[in-house]
Structures are given as structure tokens and as C-alpha cells.
Amino acid sequence: MSVSHQRPFYYLLIFCCCSISLGGCNRQEQPPSPQQAVTIQQIFRIGLIPEHNLFDQKKRYEPLLDYLAKRLGVAFEIVILPRYGNIIDNFNELKLDGAFLGSFTGAMTIMKLGVVPIARPQYEGGASTYFGIVFVKKGSGIRTAKSMRGKRMVFVDRATTAGYLLPLAYFKELGITDYTKWFSECYFSGTHEDAILDVLNNLADVGAAKNTVFYRLAAADKRILAELDILSTSPKVPSNGLMLKKDFPPELKKKLRETLLSTKQTSEWQNILKKLKIEKFINTSVDDYQPVLNYAKNNGIDLATYRYQNF
């Protein structure tokens, strides 16, 4: 055992001796303070859509929710959502109280469930929106609809703006009316990360994902920028924001919004945001999702009645 490891034991020994010597004093046991007596009563289940792989996504948001729980005196339980699309079902089946949702799923749950957007992140560089990208492997020669014919297409999910709406609009723009027949194989990776990696690793030929994930992965893996070409981008839509169910306790909702939007935050909070590449959270309302609704509508999708199952 090294000396540095032994030192705590010596301190412990001295403390024990002092405790023994003070054993005879008449110090009364103090009742627990009211603050100590408070127990966390409520557990709120917050869903996370698979922006990254399920486990990374959970790890990314855990510190944020733990911090909020500590500040608000409640408990947040992270619930991993394996699909973007079945978020409506999951809100009911998994008894979610809220979720960090992408623009599409956010807009859809606003339309279908009446959830309320609270706040969304403003990423480093000042962007509080993202956009979708359609990409192929450099040198694949895939640029036109013709060159795409018979290739393998990887979407993220039918309930994503970047991973589905954008390629849908792009294909429409290229004159591909039925992509299922145009491509030899179409599938949904489930995560933006997997969509990017599948194209990079030649598991698919054309992919679609959101720019934030693309560049985040590109920062860690230089092959992405070196080997992938972006063919198209979508309009900017609100970044993944926190939505709360409509019957969420108003007082807590208010506090949660205030906490997220507060400019006087601790260094712990700052560190958490820094790891998430977020500058701050900004106020978000239903109106912020209007571009998504418009974009979907332009692509022939009415989110209020949209069937989001991938297959």
C-alpha cells in the first residue's frame, strides 16, 4: 500500500481515537434538518430519441437530467426510445412525462398529443437549429436519380426531418416518386449515427442524417469529411428540444423552464452543456415548429394524421 493510500487510514485512526476520547460527552443527537428530511417523491420519465446509439445518447443526457433533478428536487428517469416514429405510442405506453425530441417528432407530438415545448439547445456557434443532409460516398458517382437507381438507401426513421423528410423532398426534387422501387434496398438505421456510419462503411450507398450528428462524428472520425459528399440539405428546423406532456405539473414546468433558461448557472451546469456542445437553452414554443409542419406539408405529410411506422 502506498503512503498516499495509508494516509486516510491514519486520519481515520486519529479520528477514531478522538471519537473514543469524546465518547463521554453529553452531546445530544440532533434531529435531521428539514432539508435532510425531504425525500424525492416524484419520478418523471423523460424519453430520449436515438439520435446517437442508444447507450451514448443516454450517457450524454444523464448528467443534464441529474443536475435538473437535483436543482428541482425531483427525480428524472431516462427512457430510451428505440424508434423515432413510435414516439406517440411510447408516450402513452411508457408513461413518459416528457422527452427530448427532434423537430419532426416534436412537431408530430405537438399535433397528436398536445405536448408543450419548453426549451431547446443553442449549440456552440450560436445555432439553435439543424438541418438535414443527404450524403454519399465520395467517388461513388452517385449524384443523380439515375445514378441512385438500384443503390441502397439508408434513412434514419420515418419520423425524422433530416433522416426522412429531407431525402423525401430531395428524391421528389430529383424526380424519384417512389423511392422504395427506385432503390434496391431502403432501410431505417434508427439513428443518425448509424445512417452516417453505414454509408461510410459501405453498408449503404445513400444516406440521410442531421448535420449536427454528422459534424459531431466528423470531429471524432476524419474519414467522414474525407470520404462522404453531401448532396443536399434541408431547411433549418428547431434542434432537439424538451417537450412536456400537457398535464405536466405547471409549477414544476415553470421551474424547469426557468432552470434551463437561467443565465446564472453553476460551473457544473456549464460543464454539462460544454460536453453536450451546447451554449445554452433557449425558449421554445409551438410556433418554432411551424417550419417543420410546413416542410412536411410540402412533402405531402400531414403530421396530424401521419402514419409513422417505418414498415
Binding site: L13, F55, K58, P82, Y187, S189, G190
Partner: protein, 607 residues
């Protein structure tokens, strides 16, 4: 000693602290090693746990999309549990080689998780999904193989380490046992050393103190003691020296005062003044013994009141009360000797206070001689006065008496007187002659002739006197007077007036003859009294003297004879005293009288 005691205490403290630290350190080390052993087993457990979780994840993979598939949350939990298990492995300390392997394992686990995530989220045709699951499953198998490989490679190392740890623990145990045995022994040795040194020194000092207590003031600590004990021993020796000096001073003072006390001419006594033992004699000097006739031990058992005549005891008590108030009392009084005789004394009484006790300090001086001397002086003065008167009278009477006698002689011769008248004349003349002798004697007593000293042989002078007396007595042989002489042949001549001494002896012999009307023996003895005096005793076998007569025998005009003048022995005494001699008389009624005379060989006051 303080230095060594501190050193010893420091040593023992160091032993305790060092031993304690070593024991604690050893315990920590052993605990640490045991923890390592436990951790080795824990590694096995964790590895098995990780394997279990991987296998669970593999099962979830295999069961995906089957009727028995786990729900997503459960699958996620399984994977998270697997990751947690692997994180435990990474948090431990490993060798660089193992760390590299673990880093690879970590990467593979992350990849496995990523593949599982992909298998969970992907929505594709069956073939693609199968491929994804297969890929993930293969990754899981690879992980299991890696873990197995790690386990095999570490098993031998762990076994070796456990053996080493066991050996270390045994060594530590032996050393601890040695410490537990040797530590107390060391402390005992140190303690014994200090105790021996300490108690040895203390014992030496205690012995010295006992010697001092028993009165051995010459005892010196000769054993060399060290440090503070040495200082103490030195101080003790100095103290003994000082005590010796003080004792000598005290003894000198005591001897001085004892000598003064014992050699004092006055009788000094110390008596108790406490009520219970008031008057008890506590101390008395030699003069007191002589004065009262008791031995010192007898006096110490007596009360002073027993030495006071009964009729004067109350008065003495009053004096004691006065003394208690601190007053010195001086008086004349009487004291009773052992033989019952009362003696006149000068008294001086005072208070002696020793500590809290009060004593009566009594000085007593026999003044018998002084009183007698005073009496004799008074008598001498009286006799001188009588002598002067007698001389005056004799001078005035002597010449007329001589004229009367001559006239009577002439008238007696010239007148033709009848026989009866002649006898009358003769008696008158005889009486006148007697008056002349009386006057002569009176003059001799009042103005004794100055002695003409010459060397005189006492034996010869006595012999001559005896012969003269014998001749006188020989005229009346019917009286049967016998003389016996016992003269010392060694008797030296003395300086004396032979005629005056002859007068003395003649007077004594005549008195002796007068004291033996029925005859008797007159014995004369001469001896040397020491080297410078002669001793002469003339004794008869006559009727003796009464005590009253003895007391007044040398008083002028005292006589037991009907026709004596009472001046004979008084004159004898004065003549003898003019020679520096003494005369004493002893008499036993009906048995005789003895006169003892002592003369010095040389007249020191001779002019």
C-alpha cells in the same frame, strides 16, 4: 537522572510509537494484501459477471424479434449492466500490458454496444437485420474469447501473487510476534535498568537517612551516585557535616552549662510548676546533693516541699505563685537536710520556661558558715570592746590595787595584829593577788602579747609541760593522775612562740586535771597532719562536758569551775589563732574530753 529518565521515557515512547506504527502499518499492509487476494477473486467474479452479462446480451440478440425477446428497456439494462461490469475492471490498477488488453476490450465493448444499439434501432429487411445481429453476436463472441484469454493469462499470475502475498503475510506475522515478544522484553530491560539505578540510589539515601536517624552523625555516603542523586548525596554529606558541627557546638555549650551547673557552689534545682506535679524535682546539681545530704537520684524522686520545714511551706507556695508571674524572688530561709538538721540558706527563685513547660529555678546557698563567721565577728568585736574596757579598767585598777597590796603587806608586817587579824589581812592580800591575776588574764585576753616566733619542737615542749604539770600534780599523789604520751617521732618543728604554746598546753592540762577529781589518765598524741601541719590531741578521762558547755567552752567568762575566771580557754583559743592554728573540743559526758589542735609548720602571715 532527569536526563536519563527523559531519555528512557523517550526510548519507551519511541518503542511504543514505533511498534504501534509498525503494527498498524503491518495491519494495513496485510489488509491491503488480503484485499488484493480478495480483489483477485473479485476479478474472477467480475469477469464471470461480465461474461454473464455479455451472454445475457447475446441471448437478447438471439431472441430479438422472436416471441421470447426481452423488451427494449430490459435489453438496455442488460447492456448497461455489462458495461458497468466492464467499467469495474477498467477502474482497477493493472500492468501496462494488461491495460493495453483492457483498452482493446473496452473498445470492443463499446463497439459491441454500438452494434447492439444498431440491432435494436435498425428497421430494415430481414437479411440486413440478420447481418446486423450476426455482426453484433460475433462481436459478443469475440469479447467472450478475449475475456477468457485474459482470464487464462492472469490466472497463473494471480496464483503466483497469492503465494507471494501468503509468504509476506507469514513473514509479517512472525515479525509481529517477534515485536510482541521482544518489545515488552526491551521495555522491561529499560525499566529494570532505570529501576535498578533509581532504587539503588534511593536505597543508599534511605540507608544514610536511617543511619542519621539512629544518631550516626559521622555517616557519610561514600557510594558514588550519579546525577541528581549524586547532588542529593553531596547535600546529605554536607548536611551531616553541618549537623556534626552544630552537635559539637551544642555539646560544648551543654558541657559548659553542665559544668557550670554541676560545679556551682550554690545548690541549683529545677522543679516542675505544673499543678499535678508541682514541686517535683526535675534536675539538681552536685551542690544540692551536698547541701541536702541526698544523692542526686534521691533528689530526683523528691518534691522540693519535702526539703522545706513544714511551717514554711505555705510561704514557699506563695513565692512559687509569684515566680509563675515572672518575678524573681530572693529571700533567706531554712532547709531541712536528710539528717533532719535545719540549715540557714539564701534563696533565689525564678521562672524557667522550656518550650511550653514552666519550671521553678531554685538557687540555694548554705549560709551557716557565714552566719557563724558573722557571729564570731560580732563576738570578737564584743570581746575587743570588753578587752578595751578590761584593759582600761585593769590599767586604772592595777596601780591602786598594787598600792593597796603593798600597803596591806606593810601594815601586816608592821602592825602587831592578832592571829585572827593576820589571817584576815592574809586573805585580803590573797584576794587582791587574785584580782591582780584576773586583771592580768583579762589583759592577756584583751591584748594578747604579740607572739615571738621561733622554731619549736612540739614534742619537747609538750614533754616539758607535762613534767611541770606532773610535778604540780605530784604534790597531790592521791589524785592518781597518769600521763600517757604517744608522740610521733617524725614530727617536724613548727614556727611558734614557745611560751604562749606552753601557756596553752598548761591551761589544757590543768583543766584536764580539774576534770578528773577522782584521777584518770591524760593522753597526749602528736602526728603530722599532711606535710605542713602538726596535729596534737590532749584527752582526759574526766567527767566530760555537756553540749551547752561544749558550745560555750571558748566563750570568755564561761566556766564550769567555782573559782574559775572563764578566760583560760578563751585566751588559749586566741593564742592558737594568733599562730594560724585551730582548736576543737570533743567531749562525751562521763567519759572524758578531748582537745585537738592543729598548727601550721610555717607562719605565712608572719611579719
Amino acid at each position: 537522572m532527569r536526563k536519563y529518565a527523559l531519555l528512557g521515557l523517550t526510548l519507551m515512547l519511541c518503542c511504543f510509537i514505533g511498534g504501534g506504527i509498525y503494527i498498524i502499518t503491518s495491519i494495513f499492509e496485510v489488509t491491503d494484501k488480503l484485499e488484493k487476494v480478495i480483489s483477485f477473486h473479485r476479478v474472477e467474479f467480475l469477469r464471470e459477471n461480465l461474461v454473464h452479462h455479455i451472454k445475457t446480451a447475446q441471448s437478447d440478440l438471439l431472441l430479438q424479434e422472436s416471441p421470447h425477446s426481452s423488451d427494449l428497456e430490459a435489453s438496455v439494462r442488460h447492456v448497461e449492466a455489462m458495461e458497468s461490469s466492464s467499467q469495474v475492471c477498467f477502474s482497477c490498477h493493472h500492468t501496462t500490458e494488461t491495460n493495453v488488453k483492457l483498452e482493446n476490450l473496452k473498445g470492443n465493448i463499446e463497439r459491441y454496444m454500438s452494434l447492439i444499439s444498431r440491432s435494436m434501432t435498425i428497421q430494415a429487411n430481414q437479411s440486413r437485420k440478420e447481418k446486423v445481429r450476426t455482426l453484433a453476436y460475433s462481436q459478443g463472441d469475440q469479447l467472450l474469447n478475449e475475456i477468457r484469454s485474459l482470464s487464462l493469462s492472469s490466472a497463473e499470475k494471480i496464483s503466483t501473487k497469492i503465494s507471494t502475498i501468503r509468504a509476506d503475510i507469514h513473514a509479517t506475522n512472525y515479525f509481529l510476534i517477534a515485536c510482541v515478544i521482544l518489545g515488552p522484553i526491551t521495555i522491561l530491560i529499560i525499566t529494570f535498568f532505570f529501576l535498578k539505578r533509581f532504587t539503588g540510589s534511593i536505597e543508599t539515601l534511605v540507608i544514610a537517612a536511617h543511619e542519621l536517624k539512629n544518631g550516626n552523625l559521622n555517616y557519610q555516603i561514600k557510594t558514588p551516585l550519579k546525577d541528581e542523586f549524586g547532588t542529593l548525596a553531596s547535600a546529605f554529606n554536607k548536611m551531616v557535616d553541618s549537623l556534626n558541627t552544630e552537635r559539637q557546638k551544642f555539646e560544648s555549650a551543654q558541657t559548659l552549662y553542665q559544668t557550670l551547673f554541676e560545679s556551682a557552689g550554690d545548690a541549683i534545682m529545677i522543679c516542675a510548676l505544673e499543678k499535678k506535679s508541682q514541686g517535683q524535682i526535675v534536675s539538681a546539681n552536685h551542690a544540692a546533693s551536698v547541701l541536702y545530704g541526698y544523692s542526686n537520684s534521691e533528689l530526683l524522686e523528691m518534691n522540693i516541699f519535702s526539703l522545706i520545714p513544714e511551717d514554711k511551706r505555705e510561704r514557699f507556695k506563695e513565692k512559687m505563685k509569684a515566680v509563675l508571674k515572672g518575678t524573681w524572688s530572693q529571700a533567706k530561709g531554712q532547709r531541712k537536710r536528710k539528717d533532719g538538721r535545719l540549715i540557714p540558706v539564701d534563696l533565689s527563685l525564678g521562672l524557667l520556661q522550656l518550650n511550653d513547660q514552666k519550671y521553678l529555678l531554685s538557687f540555694c546557698k548554705d549560709i551557716s558558715d557565714r552566719l557563724q563567721a558573722e557571729e564570731e565577728l560580732q563576738l570578737a568585736n564584743k570581746m575587743a570592746l570588753v578587752g578595751q574596757m578590761a584593759a582600761g579598767l585593769a590599767h586604772e585598777i592595777k596601780n591602786p590595787l598594787a598600792g593597796i597590796k603593798v600597803s596591806l603587806d606593810v601594815l601586816s608586817d608592821e602592825l602587831d595584829l592578832k592571829t585572827e587579824d593576820k589571817d584576815l589581812f592574809a586573805r585580803v592580800i590573797n584576794e587582791v593577788s587574785r584580782m591582780e591575776r584576773l586583771l592580768k588574764s583579762l589583759l592577756s585576753y584583751a591584748r594578747p602579747p604579740h607572739p615571738q616566733f621561733d622554731l619549736v619542737g612540739i614534742n619537747r615542749l609538750l614533754d616539758s609541760t607535762i613534767k611541770n604539770v606532773g610535778m604540780t600534780v605530784g604534790q597531790a599523789p592521791e589524785r592518781h593522775i597518769f600521763f600517757e604520751n604517744d608522740f610521733s617521732l617524725d614530727l617536724l618543728q613548727i614556727e611558734a612562740d614557745s611560751s604562749q604554746l606552753q601557756q596553752v598546753y598548761l591551761n589544757i592540762y590543768l583543766n584536764a586535771i580539774d576534770a578528773m577529781p577522782d584521777g584518770g589518765t591524760i593522753t597526749t598524741v602528736t602526728r603530722m597532719d599532711g606535710e605542713d601541719h602538726v596535729w596534737i590531741e590532749i584527752s582526759d578521762t574526766g567527767v566530760g562536758l555537756s553540749p551547752t558547755a561544749i558550745a560555750k567552752i571558748f566563750t570568755p567568762f564561761f566556766t564550769t569551775k567555782t573559782k574559775g575566771t572563764g578566760l583560760g580557754l578563751a585566751i588559749c583559743k586566741r593564742l592558737i589563732e594568733q599562730h594560724g592554728g585551730t582548736i576543737e573540743v570533743e567531749s562525751w559526758s562521763g567519759e572524758g574530753t578531748s582537745f585537738v589542735m592543729i598548727f601550721p609548720l610555717v607562719q605565712k602571715n608572719r611579719e
